[in-house]
C-alpha cells in the first residue's frame, strides 16, 4: 500500500493520481464491462428460466404419474369393493336361491293343503229340516178332545223333539268340524307368510347390495374417467390412510419391541450370551429374527386370506392351494407362538434367578421374597398372543406402503414446484443484480461521466451554432436567388 502511495512525494497526490487513473481505466472499460455484465445477467436469467421450465416439466410429469398411480390405486380399491360385493351377492344368491325350489315346494304344499281345507270347509252343514211349518200346521189343529188325536199329537211332538235334538246335534258337529278345518289352516297361512317374508327379505337384501354395487360402479366410472372429484377424494383418502396407518404401525413397532424383549433374554440360553454379530449380541439378533419371522408370516397369512395383496402370487393362487398355504403358515405361526410362550416362561425364570442372585450378592435375605405365578402366566399369554396380533400389522403396512407412494409423490411434486420457483427467483435476481452492478459501476465513475457529458454538451452547442449559421446562410442565399428571379421576371415582362 505504501509502495502504491509513493509514486509521488505526496501520498495524497499519489492517491488522487491512482484514483484518476482508475476512474479513467474504468471509464474506458465501461462499454465492454456493461456488455459483459448484461450478457452475464442474461446468461443467468436464461439458464435459470430454462432450468425452471425443465423442473416445471418434470413436476407436470410427476403430477401426471401421481394421478395415474392414484387412479390405479382407486381403480384397484373400487374393483376390490365391487368384487367383494359380487362375492357377497353370489353367497346370498347361493344361500337364498339354492333353497328356492324347496321354498316353492313348501309353498305349493301349503297352498294345496289350504285349498283342500277350503274345499272341505266349503261343504255347508245340513240345515235343520223345515219342520217349523209342520209344527205350525200341527199346532194350528184345534183341539177336538179326541183322545186318539191327543195321543197322536203327543207322539208326533215327542218324535219331533227327538229328531230336532238329533238335528241340532248334527248341525253343531258339522259347524265344529268346519271350524276345526279353518283353525287347521292357520299354521299353513303362517307358514306361507313366513316363507314369503323370507323371500321378501332375501330380495330386499339383494336389492340393497345391487344399489351398493351401483354406487361402487359409479365411483369406479368416475375414477376411470379420471374426474377431478375422484382425484380429490382419492388424494385425501390416501393422506388419511398414510397418517392413520403410520400411527398404527408405530403402535405395532412398540408391540414388536415388547415381543423382542420377551424373547431376547431366553435366546441367550440357546445361542449364548457372549457372542456378537457386528455390534449386536447374537441372542438379540436371534430374538429380532423370531419377531421378524412372525411379522413376515403374518404378511403371508393375510395375503393367503386375501385380506392384503402384498404378494400378488399368493392372492392369485387357486383356492385349494391358497387354503393349503394358509394352513401351513398358520401352523408355523402357531408353533412360533408356542415357542415364544415357552421363551417367555424361560425369561421369567431366568429373570427371577438373576434377581435372586442380585439380592444374594447385595446381602439381602431372599427367603422373604414374595413369589407369584401371575406374572409368569401373564408373560406366557402375552408371548402366545403377540405373534397373532402382529399378524395384523400386514393391514396397516399395506395401507402405509400404498399411501406413502401418493404422499411421497405429492411431496416430490411440491418440492419440484418450490425448486422451479427458486430457480426463477435466482434467474431474476441474477438479471437485476447485473443491472445493479452496471448502475453501481456508473455511479463509481460519475466524475468521468459528468466530464463526458459536459464535453458532449459543449460539442453539441458548437455544432448547433454552426448549424444555425449554415441555416442563415442558406436562407440568405435563397432570398437572394428569389430577388434575382423576380428582377429577371420583371425585366422579361418589360
Amino acid at each position: 500500500m505504501a509502495h502504491i502511495l509513493s509514486i509521488t512525494p505526496i501520498p495524497l497526490l499519489s492517491g488522487i493520481l491512482w484514483l484518476v487513473l482508475l476512474l479513467l481505466a474504468m471509464y474506458f472499460a465501461r462499454k465492454p464491462f456493461h456488455r459483459s455484465m448484461a450478457s452475464f445477467g442474461r446468461i443467468i436469467y436464461n439458464a435459470m428460466r430454462l432450468a425452471a421450465s425443465s423442473v416445471k416439466l418434470a413436476e407436470k410429469r410427476l403430477q401426471l404419474r401421481n394421478q395415474e398411480v392414484l387412479m390405479t390405486a382407486g381403480l384397484e380399491l373400487a374393483e376390490r369393493k365391487v368384487e367383494r360385493e359380487f362375492d357377497r351377492i353370489s353367497d346370498a344368491v347361493r344361500r337364498d336361491l339354492e333353497g328356492y325350489p324347496k321354498v316353492q315346494r313348501m309353498l305349493s304344499e301349503d297352498l294345496l293343503k289350504l285349498e283342500e281345507d277350503y274345499q272341505k270347509s266349503a261343504e255347508i252343514p245340513q240345515t235343520l229340516p223345515d219342520w217349523v211349518k209342520v209344527i205350525d200346521a200341527i199346532a194350528n189343529i184345534k183341539p177336538t178332545g179326541d183322545r186318539m188325536v191327543v195321543n197322536m199329537l203327543e207322539e208326533i211332538h215327542q218324535t219331533l223333539n227327538e229328531q230336532h235334538k238329533a238335528a241340532v246335534e248334527r248341525h253343531r258337529r258339522d259347524v265344529a268340524e268346519r271350524h276345526g278345518i279353518l283353525s287347521r289352516t292357520l299354521p299353513f297361512w303362517r307358514n306361507v307368510k313366513k316363507t314369503l317374508s323370507g323371500v321378501e327379505k332375501a330380495i330386499s337384501n339383494l336389492n340393497q347390495r345391487s344399489k351398493k354395487i351401483d354406487r361402487y360402479m359409479d365411483n369406479y366410472e368416475k375414477t376411470l374417467n379420471q374426474s377431478e372429484t375422484a382425484a380429490r377424494q382419492l388424494s385425501s383418502s390416501s393422506l388419511t390412510q398414510f397418517f392413520i396407518s403410520g400411527v398404527v404401525l408405530a403402535v405395532a413397532v412398540v408391540g414388536a419391541m415388547i415381543n423382542f424383549n420377551l424373547v431376547a433374554l431366553p435366546m441367550s440360553e440357546m445361542v449364548g450370551g457372549n457372542s456378537y454379530i457386528g455390534n449386536f449380541k447374537t441372542s438379540d439378533v436371534a430374538g429380532m429374527f423370531i419377531v421378524s419371522m412372525e411379522i413376515v408370516l403374518g404378511f403371508f397369512v393375510m395375503d393367503a386370506l386375501r385380506i392384503t395383496r402384498l404378494f400378488s402370487i399368493i392372492g392369485s393362487m387357486e383356492d385349494n392351494k391358497r387354503k393349503t398355504i394358509f394352513w401351513v403358515l398358520f401352523i408355523f405361526l402357531f408353533i412360533l407362538a408356542c415357542v415364544e410362550s415357552s421363551l417367555a416362561f424361560m425369561r421369567d425364570r431366568i429373570a427371577a434367578d438373576m434377581e435372586a442372585l442380585r439380592q444374594s450378592l447385595a446381602g439381602m435375605d431372599t427367603s422373604q421374597t414374595v413369589t407369584s405365578n401371575i406374572p409368569t402366566y401373564g408373560q406366557m399369554i402375552m408371548g402366545f398372543i403377540l405373534p397373532f396380533i402382529l399378524t395384523f400389522v400386514a393391514i396397516p403396512f399395506e395401507s402405509f406402503i400404498s399411501s406413502s407412494r401418493t404422499v411421497l409423490g405429492l411431496l416430490a411434486a411440491f418440492a419440484l414446484r418450490i425448486i422451479a420457483f427458486v430457480l426463477r427467483l435466482l434467474g431474476n435476481l441474477g438479471f437485476y443484480i447485473s443491472r445493479l452492478i452496471i448502475n453501481a459501476y456508473d455511479l463509481v465513475i460519475v466524475p468521468a461521466l459528468w466530464l463526458e457529458g459536459v464535453i458532449i454538451q459543449k460539442r453539441s452547442q458548437t455544432k448547433d451554432i454552426e448549424d444555425s449559421r449554415d441555416q442563415t446562410d442558406r436562407e440568405a442565399r435563397e432570398r437572394r436567388r428569389r430577388t434575382e428571379n423576380n428582377a429577371q421576371q420583371k425585366e422579361a415582362i418589360e
Binding site: 441367550s268 449364548g272 450370551g273 457372549n274 454379530i277 457386528g278 439378533v285 438373576m354 450378592l361
Partner: protein
C-alpha cells in the same frame, strides 16, 4: 418397498455390520487381595467389591481372585477363578459358587508376613493372558506397601500393554498421615511401574463408585 426388499435390506445390513466382527468383547478381571498384616481387616470391603463384580460380569467373562502374601507369584495363591458359561442360568450358578468360595476365604484367611504385590501382578498378567480376554482388568486391593521376603527378586519389567490396572482402597498408613508425601510417592511409584509396562493406571478409593471400574 415390498417386505422382501426390507428383509433383504436387513440381511444386507446385518452382513455389513458382521464384517466388523472380530472384536473380543469379553472381560477378564483378576483381583489381588492384600492379606498382609492389618490389611486383612479390610477384606470385608473386598468381598463387597467381588460381589459387585459378580453382579456386573456377563456370560463369557472371566473372574479370578488371588491373594497377595509372601510369595504371590504362584497358582496356589489363586483363591477362586471362573470363566462364566455363555448360558445365563449356568453363569448364575457359577457366580453363587464363587461367592461361597470367597465367603469361606474371607472368614478363614490368615495374615501373611510379607507383601509381594509385584509377584501377584505377574501372576495376574500371566493368568489373564492365558484366559485370552478382550479387555483385561487387574484390581489391586491393597495399601500398595510392598515388603518382599529375603531372596525374592521382583525387579522384572511388567508387560502390561492392553491392561487396566486399578488400585482399590489404597489406605493411608500411620506414616502417611504424618507425611503425605510417602503415600503420594507410593502411589506414584506404582503408577510409574505399571504405565511403563503399557498399562492404564487408575486409583479408586471411594467404594461407592465401583461402576467407574469398567468406565474408560
Amino acid at each position: 418397498m415390498r417386505p422382501t426388499g426390507l428383509l433383504l435390506l436387513l440381511i444386507g445390513w446385518m452382513l455389513m455390520t458382521s464384517c466388523s466382527q472380530g472384536v473380543d468383547r469379553s472381560r477378564g478381571v483378576y483381583m489381588l487381595l492384600d492379606t498382609s498384616g492389618t490389611y486383612t481387616a479390610e477384606l470385608k470391603k473386598a468381598q463387597t467389591i467381588i460381589n459387585y463384580l459378580l453382579g456386573t460380569l456377563q456370560p463369557g467373562d472371566t473372574l479370578a481372585v488371588g491373594r497377595i502374601d509372601t510369595g504371590s507369584f504362584s497358582e496356589k495363591d489363586i483363591v477362586a477363578k471362573v470363566r462364566f458359561d455363555p448360558r445365563p442360568s449356568v453363569a448364575n450358578n457359577q457366580k453363587r459358587s464363587f461367592q461361597q468360595t470367597i465367603e469361606q476365604f474371607v472368614t478363614t484367611v490368615r495374615g501373611s508376613n510379607y507383601t509381594d504385590i509385584s509377584g501377584g501382578l505377574l501372576q495376574a498378567v500371566e493368568y489373564l493372558n492365558e484366559a485370552g480376554a478382550g479387555q483385561k482388568y487387574i484390581l489391586i486391593f491393597s495399601d500398595l506397601q510392598e515388603e518382599l521376603a529375603k531372596g525374592h527378586v521382583r525387579d522384572v519389567p511388567f508387560q502390561l500393554s492392553g491392561f487396566n490396572v486399578i488400585a482399590l482402597n489404597v489406605t493411608k498408613l500411620r506414616d502417611d498421615i504424618r507425611d503425605p508425601r510417602k503415600y503420594l510417592d507410593r502411589v506414584e511409584k506404582w503408577r510409574g511401574k505399571t504405565e511403563k509396562g503399557g498399562a492404564n493406571w487408575r486409583v479408586i478409593n471411594d467404594l461407592e463408585r465401583l461402576e467407574s471400574i469398567f468406565a474408560h
